[in-house]
């Protein structure tokens, strides 16, 4: 088993954990963490394919895409966090409640 294969399988598992978390977690912060874990899975698959296509060095294009992606994911997570805190301040809710 090659190194990249281990990590590409891991990436699939992480993505599914993230999706499950987005559906199952109640608290806003846990939902945001779940989306970041989903993103981590996607990035891990990209980088593992980059390691597979390595010649003298690993394929730099997925690396650059992932660096860009991490920063964009963090910016969107920060915005989501701002929204969550604002919702909490205005309503006192810590999760999406439908049964009220």
């Amino acid at each position: 088993m090659e190194t990249y294969q281990i990590y590409s399988l891991t990436s699939a598992v992480l993505f599914v954990i993230g999706i499950g978390g987005v559906f199952m977690a109640r608290h806003f912060i846990k939902k945001i963490i779940a989306t970041i874990i989903m993103g981590g899975g996607v990035f891990l698959s990209l980088v593992s394919f980059a390691a597979r296509d390595a010649l003298a060095f690993a394929d730099p294009v997925p690396h650059a895409l992932v660096i860009t992606g991490i920063v964009v994911a963090v910016a969107s997570a920060a915005f989501a966090l701002a929204l969550a805190r604002r919702i909490y301040q205005l309503t006192g809710e810590e999760s999406f409640t439908i049964d009220k």
Partner: protein, 328 residues
């Protein structure tokens, strides 16, 4: 032997991801998320992506972790709320034996299992074909830098990087829109601990120097604008937490200039290239190295300023409603 390390690391990452979603308390979640980010960073080093590892450890684990920790202050205000929280999360963990509807959960579980199988199959069966390594290697002498990832980020795909700086700026503007921009003008309460203030003052030049080193070394090895930007942003965040809101005391025009310098200079350069008969962001090979260094420096300053502003703004979100509560 090395395969064993990879397997342990993979299991660790999966375990930490699961635990950070299942942990009963929010603070546990956040700290497990920190650890997950660092485990992922190790995985990237194993895959030979050192640039990605630095970015992950600095931004995704460090900066985002700091934001989450700061948000914890907001959410678990009182003990009763915390207990409610714990109860709600525990009922989530052991949802099977409560009276929650079982059909949606079963459907979700089956769907997730099926999806896991499909995605495992997809990553296993992905056709092996080339990639762009050869092309990137062939064009490296004309790119002005020696490190392939920096070449992709700032030369081949400079358009993506330019837009990314824009995305961070948009994120900041959106946070301003959510929280209210005048929050930023409030004076920050100074930290009482003199030791902490001295330590922060001591680390400021060290972090600045380390950031500048990462920025410059990006030309030949792992490092570059984003990694440097996070370290410089960390200076701003530490100073803010220590009671020196550097970003609030400088004049407004300077703040706006710092925030937009990276985006603006990048765009100006692109237009100059078009005026000179080249494509957008097509550097003339003779000056490419020099221009890339300038672009990287300004981009790092802008991103650092934006990260500091994002943190400071989120950090001050808590204080306003308390005041309105006491006045009304």
């Amino acid at each position: 032997m090395s395969v064993l390390i990879d397997i342990i690391l993979a299991i660790l990452a999966i375990y930490l991801a699961l635990q950070s979603l299942l942990a009963p308390r929010l603070s546990q979640s956040v700290f497990l998320f920190f650890a997950f980010g660092l485990a992922l960073a190790l995985a990237w080093i194993r895959l030979g992506a050192v640039d990605v590892a630095i970015t992950e450890a600095a931004i995704a684990a460090g900066f985002l972790g700091a934001l989450f920790l700061d948000a914890l202050r907001d959410f678990s205000v009182s003990d009763t709320e915390k207990q409610e929280n714990t109860k709600a999360d525990q009922s989530l963990v052991s949802a099977k034996n409560t009276n929650s509807p079982w059909l949606p959960r079963l459907a979700l579980g089956l769907g997730l299992g099926l999806f896991l199988l499909i995605s495992l199959e997809a990553v296993w069966e992905i056709p092996s074909g080339g990639g762009l390594t050869e092309l990137a290697e062939a064009m490296l002498p004309a790119s002005g830098v020696e490190h392939p990832v920096t070449a992709v980020l700032l030369n081949y795909r400079a358009y993506d990087t330019w837009l990314e700086i824009g995305v961070i700026l948009m994120g900041l503007l959106a946070i301003f829109a959510v929280g209210g921009r005048e929050l930023y003008r409030k004076p920050v309460m100074a930290v009482q601990d003199p030791l902490l203030r001295q330590v922060i003052l001591f680390f400021t030049p060290v972090l600045f120097l380390f950031g500048a080193f990462l920025l410059y070394v990006g030309k030949t090895g792992p490092g570059g604008a984003f990694q440097a930007a996070v370290l410089w942003g960390a200076i701003g965040i530490l100073l803010h937490l220590g009671g020196w809101p550097v970003f609030a005391v400088i004049p407004r025009w300077l703040r706006q200039l710092l925030l937009t310098a990276g985006l603006g200079f990048f765009l100006l350069l692109g237009f100059l290239f078009i005026a000179g008969g080249n494509a957008l962001f097509e550097y003339p090979p003779a000056y490419a190295g020099f221009l890339i260094l300038i672009v990287e420096t300004l981009a790092a300053i802008s991103i650092a300023a934006a990260l500091t502003a994002i943190f400071a703004n989120l950090n001050q979100m808590k204080e306003t409603p308390n005041e309105t509560e006491t006045t009304t």
